[in-house]
């Protein structure tokens, strides 16, 4: 466990230790030999032909790991997947990024990858919703859609031949994210799941789990299909925008946003995979125990969450058997 920078009293430390041991014993069988650190030998059958993948090297006739991580085997390929590595994108992933540059006909976004991702102007819906060729005027007005430092949600489209990433934001659910906060966690904590957009009804909050480790928690925004919008509504909308600039998020929603954000922070400190259900459970745990939002970042709550998770997993294991 990476050094938890929390002041734990003796009892809290023992409780946390026990919870982690329980979790480890419950995890799947191959795990104990799977995690390696640098210069550990990788257990492999040397008679079979195998391919040496990333993170391995041959030393003195033995296969040795060069990074700390988990050993993965796919057919004959043996490689070590680093844990604290940068995000490794796959086509179709939902990512949340920040615009760093507005370039010719494209935006460059930072997504915690080795290179900045590119969002082409043509991969973005026009504000009026009409499908048409992008003209030079559109190019000049790119700033009215996204500016520098805006937070954007998009989907990975493909890789270019030079290794850079292309994104697309063609659906209504993608686009600029406002009225909320961005949390940065390790990318390996967000696993691929059916849906990365979660609308938490009872709080009225949007939770977007970007696979690159950027998590957005914010007020719920109605995804309107702009094609259906007709003229009389547009003036109303521009007025609503002005008002929105004046009014702030109501206090209760802000408290909910803070609670969810703190739940995400606690789970990332403990190293648990992010899952909307898990986050909701943590939030419910905190509100049922009447823990003050600020205390959620204290050591007591961390220990409680770890114990709860250990219990939950043991229950799931028992149910399967």
């Amino acid at each position: 466990m990476r050094g938890l920078q929390l002041p734990l009293s003796q009892t809290q430390r023992t409780r946390l230790q026990r919870a982690f041991e329980k979790l480890q014993s419950l995890s799947s069988k191959a795990n104990s030999d799977a995690s390696v650190t640098v210069a550990d030998t990788i257990p492999v059958n040397y008679e079979d032909a195998f391919l040496k993948g990333h993170g391995t090297t041959e030393l003195n006739g033995e296969l040795v790991a060069t990074v700390c991580g988990v050993v993965e085997r796919i057919n004959k390929l043996v490689y070590v997947r680093g844990l604290r590595a940068r995000y490794k994108p796959e086509v179709g992933d939902i990512v949340v990024g920040r615009v760093v540059e507005v370039a010719q006909k494209r935006w460059r976004l930072e997504i915690n990858f080795s290179q900045d991702a590119i969002l082409m102007l043509s991969s973005m819906n026009m504000p009026d919703g009409i499908q048409r060729r992008r003209t030079a005027l559109d190019e000049l007005n790119m700033r009215s859609i996204f500016e520098e430092n805006d937070v954007v949600c998009a989907e990975v489209r493909n890789f270019q031949h030079d290794g850079s990433l292309q994104l697309q934001a063609r659906s209504q659910k993608y686009g600029k994210l406002e009225k909320g906060q961005l949390l940065i966690i390790d990318p390996y904590l967000v696993k691929k799941s059916k849906s990365h957009f979660h609308h938490l009804e009872q709080f009225g909050i949007d939770l977007i789990l970007g696979r690159n480790g950027f998590i957005w928690v914010g007020e719920h925004v109605e995804t309107r299909d702009s094609m259906v919008v007709d003229k009389p509504n547009s003036s109303e909308q521009s007025m609503v925008l002005e008002e929105r600039n004046q009014t702030h998020t109501p206090l209760e929603m802000r408290q909910n946003i803070c609670r969810v954000a703190n739940a995400v922070r606690v789970l990332s400190t403990l190293g648990f995979s992010m899952d909307a259900d898990l986050i909701m459970e943590t939030v419910e745990l905190s509100s049922s125990l009447k823990i003050d939002i600020h205390d959620m970042l204290g050591s007591e709550f961390h220990v409680l969450v770890a114990e709860r998770e250990a219990e939950r997993r043991s229950l799931m294991g028992k149910r399967r058997r």
Binding site: E178, K179, Q255, L297
Partner: protein, 266 residues
């Protein structure tokens, strides 16, 4: 420092005006502070302070030197802060120099008092060995490892902790000295003179965002500030120093209000 979009800035300002910041602190709540002392064994005193993600180290080294001719009964103390490039990419090379000098000057003012030595937190006369000839020079160095807002408060706390951890070696002065000769001194290996740090003030920085002030701003909140006032308050509740940063002007009544808030927070 990562930029913030307009929506995020609006969110932060809204939070502060509603007394619920990004990590759910109240306006006047500090982040949890962790202090470790004695981390650098070669220095005479050292401390490391972590305030959220802000991480600073302070170390104290004492050397024998000659006192200033104008003030023969006082020792010398120098405070210097260095912002390491690991804290932020803009600190690489000469980038961090402006911030370093600003912090050093602010700390010297708050802890060492004015030019005449009035209102100092440390009594320089306790540093003298032989009047007019030999005195201790204290070099206090601060290093910023990681910056997430509120550096001044963290550095002041680190310096206070380092000084409380400092042990100045006992010095034996050989007898028989004439006129201008430098006396012989024996520095014993046993360090035993501890500093009295009860007089050293603590700095509270209030950052004004919109119409409200907050205590202990993170770097995102600091990017939104219009101005900041750092008040150094000592144990008795007296104000030892005042530093104002930021371009916007402040009404006098607001400054007095902020000072009283700082005393209250302390």
């Amino acid at each position: 420092m990562v930029g913030l979009s307009v929506g995020e800035k609006h969110f932060i300002q809204g939070g502060i005006s509603q007394d619920l910041r990004l990590d759910c602190r109240k306006r006047l709540t500090y982040r949890p502070i962790y202090v470790e002392t004695g981390i650098i064994p070669q220095a005479h005193g050292s401390a490391r302070v972590r305030l959220g993600a802000t991480d600073v180290i302070a170390s104290v080294k004492a050397e024998l030197g000659k006192p200033n001719a104008l003030q023969p009964d006082k020792g010398k103390i120098a405070i210097f802060v260095d912002c390491s490039p690991t804290a932020a990419p803009m600190f690489e090379g000469r980038g961090g120099e402006e911030l370093s000098t600003e912090l050093s000057v602010a700390l010297e003012r708050c802890i060492l008092g004015g030019k005449s030595g009035a209102g100092a937190g440390i009594d320089p006369t306790s540093l003298v060995v032989v009047e007019g000839k030999v005195c201790w020079d204290l070099y206090v160095d601060g290093l910023v490892i990681s910056s997430d807002g509120n550096l001044l408060d963290a550095l002041a706390a680190a310096i206070k902790a380092a000084l409380s951890n400092t042990g100045i070696p006992k010095v034996d002065v050989a007898a028989e000295m004439t006129g201008d000769e430098q006396p012989e001194v024996n520095i014993s290996d046993e360090e035993f003179l501890q500093f009295d740090t009860s007089g050293i003030p603590v700095i509270v920085t209030l950052t004004k965002v919109g119409k409200q002030y907050i205590v202990d701003a993170t770097s995102e909140e600091e990017s939104q500030m219009t101005s900041a006032v750092s008040v150094s308050v000592n144990r008795k509740g007296h104000v030892c120093g005042l530093t104002k940063r930021g371009g916007a002007g402040l009404d006098l009544s607001i400054i007095l209000d902020m000072i009283s808030v700082a005393k209250h927070v302390k």
